[in-house]
Structures are given as C-alpha cells and as structure tokens.
Symmetry: C2
Subunit: 361 residues, 2 copies
C-alpha cells in the first residue's frame, strides 16, 4: 500500500504506527530539546528510553546541582478532558501541557517526556498526525525531549503523559506559613469562561472570547515562571490550579496546616465580564498558586521585579493564616466562607451502571 493510499491507522499496523510517531520524536528532532544529546535511546528505539543522567543534569543548568528527580503523570481523554471543538492538535498539546504544569508547580526544569496513547480503531491517519504535531509543538516550546511511549487500541482517544524534571530546591505544598503572602500568576477563570461560552451559551466581548477559548483549548503551563519563583528563594509553597482556586486552596491548606484570608477584589480575572464563580470553582487554568515569605516587607518589591522579568501578571490575593482560621474572604469586618468545591472526577453520582467490575458478571 502506498503512503498516499493509507488513510486509517489500521493500514499501518502497530509497527508502522510506532515508526511513524517515533520519527517525529527521534533524538534531536524536537527543536531545541535541551536534553537532546543526553538521550542514549529515544522514542521507538528500545525496550526503554535511556538518558545519560550526568550529561542531562549538566545540560539542564550548567553548574547547578539538580539533586532531585521530579516525576508526574497525567491522563487526558476525549470524553472527560477535551471540550467540543478542540482540534486534534490541541488535544496533543494539552496532553503535554497538563504534565508540564505539574513540573512547573515544583519549580523544576522539565527535560524528558513519555506518552502512552490509546487510539480508537479507524482513526484517520491525518488526525493522528495532528495529535502528534500538538505533542511535538508543546514539547518543543518547552525544550522537552519526547523519549518514548506506547500505543494501544482503545475505545476513545486517551493519552497518559509522564514528565521528568530536575530540581535543586523543589517547592512543595506543605511549607506555607502563617504571615506569608498568597499569590497567583495570570488571571483565573479564563478556561471556564471558554467552556461556558462553548457549552453553556455564555457571551463575552470578542477579545475576552478569544483569550478564553485559547486558555481552554491550548493551556500554557507556567514553566519559566515556576523556575523563576523557585529560584527567587522567597516562595514557601506552590501548586498549580488545575481544579479551580477553591479546591487548590483547600489542598494547600490541608498540606501546610494553614488557613487563608482572601481579598475578593484582588482575585485576578480577565475582565468584570468573568463571574467570580468561574475563577473560584472551575478548573483548567493551569496558573501557579504560591505563598511568599513576606519577610521584612521585601516580598512585594521582589515580586514586581519577577513580574516584569517574566512578563506575566502576578497578584497578591490574600495571606496565609493559622489553620483554625479556615479559608474565607475578608470584606471589611465581614467574613465570607469559601465553599470547597470544584472539578472532581467521580464526584457526581450518576445512573451509569457500567462499572468494570460488574460488566461481565
């Protein structure tokens, strides 16, 4: 069969598919992959990928120690993660971006990525190629080497990425202290606004719509920002806001045994058209939530420096309180509790009775 008469993935078979995908990811193929020369076996080449660790640590940041290996794994799939209208390219991009966001949240340098793809039979080759282009584009944008993967036949498109990074001083979730400033990067509720627009008929002005759609369809992980924040030495804790601000605060509070006081008017949104609900209770923003040692009042100044250096908005949205204070908005002398809710898998009961445990028996 000629290259030109092949339309569907089954025309290629597994070996052919692996070849086709691996070629796109082969050593050095990802433009600017920071770790290209460190890869002794890359995608499609062997039972495993092989990375020369000493070379990799040296290359990622000359002279730095990079004692910690940072690992995250995250799945995205058509029915639960890809909104209507998302292109195959954007699906591929998202599979990488959600993992990079976790690496960013540790303040780590990403360097290698593997991707397991479950692909439905009778997928058009051109659509798969686009998914792969999206993976490649996001990896390339963050100088990440795609070193391996797996393909299986599945009922819907499902991709599990695993990303590796290095860190010298990783920033964890368990180290916020009362008195710290509470901050976020960027604006919140953008992706939710996009979703509401597409699936709920909500309307915004054209420039807001454009930013919101882009946040929903092609999320930007805050990798450089995470590294700069960790390197600043002032950040006491950090995490990404993939499931909404409220749930993220609850998690950060739980891990660090602290509470939070928030200033409602400081929650950064794109415009007044975006309801506060979207910033608080919806996910998909992939911004960084972090706490800053306010020590001697230098925090805010240093933050302004970082902000202009990185070209990203950073907002102080509240401060860290003792755990018993809880999580609340301060409005003058009035205290308004924040509901701990947001996007959760499995949280909503349904009448579906098709569990794997009882399907066959």
């Amino acid at each position: 069969m000629s290259e030109y008469s092949m339309r569907f993935i089954e025309d290629l078979g597994e070996t052919g598919l692996i070849e086709r995908i691996s070629k796109r990811f082969k050593t050095g193929a990802i433009a600017g992959a920071v770790c290209g020369a460190c890869i002794a076996a890359g995608a499609g080449e062997d039972d495993c990928a092989l990375i020369d660790m000493d070379a990799a640590r040296a290359v990622v940041g000359a002279g730095a120690e990079y004692r910690y290996l940072v690992i995250t794994t995250d799945t995205v799939q058509k029915s639960t993660h890809f909104p209507r209208g998302m292109s195959p390219f954007q699906m591929g991009w998202t599979a990488v971006a959600v993992n990079l966001s976790d690496i960013a949240a540790m303040g780590a340098h990403p360097f290698a990525f593997v991707i397991a793809m479950g692909i439905p039979e009778h997928t058009e080759l051109s659509a798969l190629d686009e998914v792969v282009s999206g993976i490649e584009a996001c990896a390339s944008a963050y100088e990440l080497a795609v070193v391996g993967g797996d393909i299986t036949r599945s009922k819907e498109l499902i991709m599990t990425g695993t990303c590796l990074g290095f860190a010298t001083t990783p920033v964890k979730r368990d180290s916020a202290k009362p008195g710290d400033l509470l901050c976020v990067t960027g604006t919140l509720g953008n992706a939710a606004a996009g979703l509401k627009m597409i699936e709920g008929g909500m309307k915004f002005s054209p420039d807001i719509e454009s930013v919101a759609k882009s946040a929903l369809f092609q999320p930007v992980p805050r990798v450089r920002e995470g590294i700069a924040l960790a390197d600043s030495g002032m950040v006491t804790s950090m995490m990404d806001i993939s499931d909404g601000l409220a749930l993220s605060l609850a998690e950060l509070g739980r891990r660090s045994h602290v509470g939070f006081e928030l200033y409602e008017d400081k929650i950064p949104v794109l415009s007044h058209e975006v309801p506060r609900e979207l910033a608080l209770y919806y996910g998909g923003d992939y911004e960084l939530l972090f706490t800053l040692d306010a020590g001697a009042g230098t925090g805010e100044e240093k933050l302004k420096e970082l902000q202009s250096e990185l070209g990203v908005n950073v907002s102080i949205i509240g401060r860290v309180m003792p755990e018993e204070a809880g999580i609340y908005f301060k409005k003058g002398t009035v205290r308004e509790e924040i509901a701990i809710k947001g996007y959760q898998h499995f949280s909503i009961l349904s009448s579906n009775d098709g569990g794997w445990n009882n399907r066959n028996g």
Copy 2:
C-alpha cells in the same frame, strides 16, 4: 457516609479515592522498596513525586555508577489486555509487571513507578482495592516504590504505568553480532496456552494448565535475570518477548542488522502438548531474548553458571547470522522461513484466528 456504607468509588469522590490509594503507596509502605528513603515526596503528596537522585543511585547498588536513567511506559486495559477470568488483583499486578519486563530487558534496576488509572464510574470499592493490592504486591515483589499517579473516570479500566530504573551498562537491541548465541529465559508459549485453554477450549494436562494460567494471569518479569545477564558482560543485545518470539526476532534483527538461524527442537516449551505455534506467534510470555558473545567458547559454561545461580532455565535456541541470511529454522540441510507475525495492536482486522488482537472482535 461511614466507611462501611461506601460500596462504589463515587461515594468517595476524587480526593477520597486519591487518599485511599495513596495511603497504600505512601513512602515506606511498599515492603522493602529499595528506594524508600530516597523519596522526598511520594504518592498523593504533591504536584509531582520527588526523588533524591544521589541517594537513590547510592541505595540501588552501593558503589555502582548508575549513569543511565531508564524509562518505560506501558498501558494495559480491560478489553484488549485482560483475558476473561483475570481477577482485579491480577490486573493490578499485570500493570506493573509489563513495565518491569521492559526495565528487565535493559538489564536495569527498577526503583520507582507511577500509575495513571482510568476507572469506570460505579466500580465497586472492593474491586478497586483489589487492583491496588495487585499493584502493591508486584511493586513489593520487586522492591519498587510507587511514587505517584493519576486517576480519571474512563469507559473501562485502563492503567498506564511508567517505570524508572538505573543502569550502568544498559543492554540495547542494536548490538547483536553474527556469531553470537541466541538465547531465551524460561519457556515460551505458556501464556498463549493459557489463553487457548480459556478462550479456545484447548486442553492440557492439569500441571500444564496450572502453569499456563499463571503465566497468563500473573506474568513474572525477569528483573533479577536481566540484571545478572547485563552484569555478566557477555550479553550483546537483549529485549523482552512480549509480542511473541517471531516478532521479537524480527525487531532484534532489524535493530542490529542481523539474521537468525534457529534450532527448532531447542525452542523451550513447557511440554510437547504446547504447539510450537504458541511459542512463536503469541505474546504475553515476558521472557528475555538475548544474544551472547560466544567468544572463546566460554559462553555456554558461563550461561550454565548464571542458570543455576538464578534458578531459571536458559536455552540456546540458535545463533546470530548476517542480515542477508534472514530468519529461519535449520532442519538438517533444509531451511524453513519463520513467518513474521504475532500480536500487534491495529494490525490484523482479518480472518486471523489466533492473536490477542482480535480476541474481542
């Protein structure tokens, strides 16, 4: 809701589920995890897992260099990977074992594992607990730390594991040389015999049936064997036989630019009841296929030593030939070609009546 009234995973929600699963994997919880003390953040604790690399390298093998990081990712899912009758425990075990087999095939020391689980709604908690027990048991058997994961709601049970290992002298697929001896561990066709028994009504004697079912339902990755073979310094190339001997030979030949001459009567099978077809063209055995530098005739002797040290059968099944020789059985002066077929996702949408590829369709 009390612990005792919860039956299905949706009663717990995502946070509850993550807690429940993470508890089983938390730092130090995996009995004997060789890298327990190297984990600065484990399952469910942060955006990423954190591993202290210097500590990890030191612990895995005191004094060794462990320059290479080895990574593999592999997906298993209900409809395509789990035969009828496989228990949830065995599904969990298998998700780890298939990844360990790839690590073994590099001759590397596995040390950390992450698992992304797609779980159908309305799965019984007890079934999920069993899957987790299987993951834990396999990790524990190989001193592997489960450092993180992800859960999503999916249409069927699907698990993507990613395993990390260290190697000083990883054994690749591209370095077999004409003249080398061709070898395999264990016996081939066991898992296929189990499948034929269960799904095709094939009958074997009781002791064969028991071994075959166990090979199919709870595969044993050759981790210690892979390390010992790599450490012997005599192995020139290695891979696992997850997709059947024929396809594995084709792949090894393609990577190393060599051919193979096989001795039919040397292909190790459990008993004469197991048809040669099952050893050649069916997957799921997870044995190691490797080539041995026969230099000065010491190969076979050293192999016997390894065999008795490891307590595993090693068979010399042929020898490496120049590429142009192809892949064939030698029967006296007669040459019989080996068909290059076996288990492939996406490949066979036809009348093939055998492989796992069309078991469900």
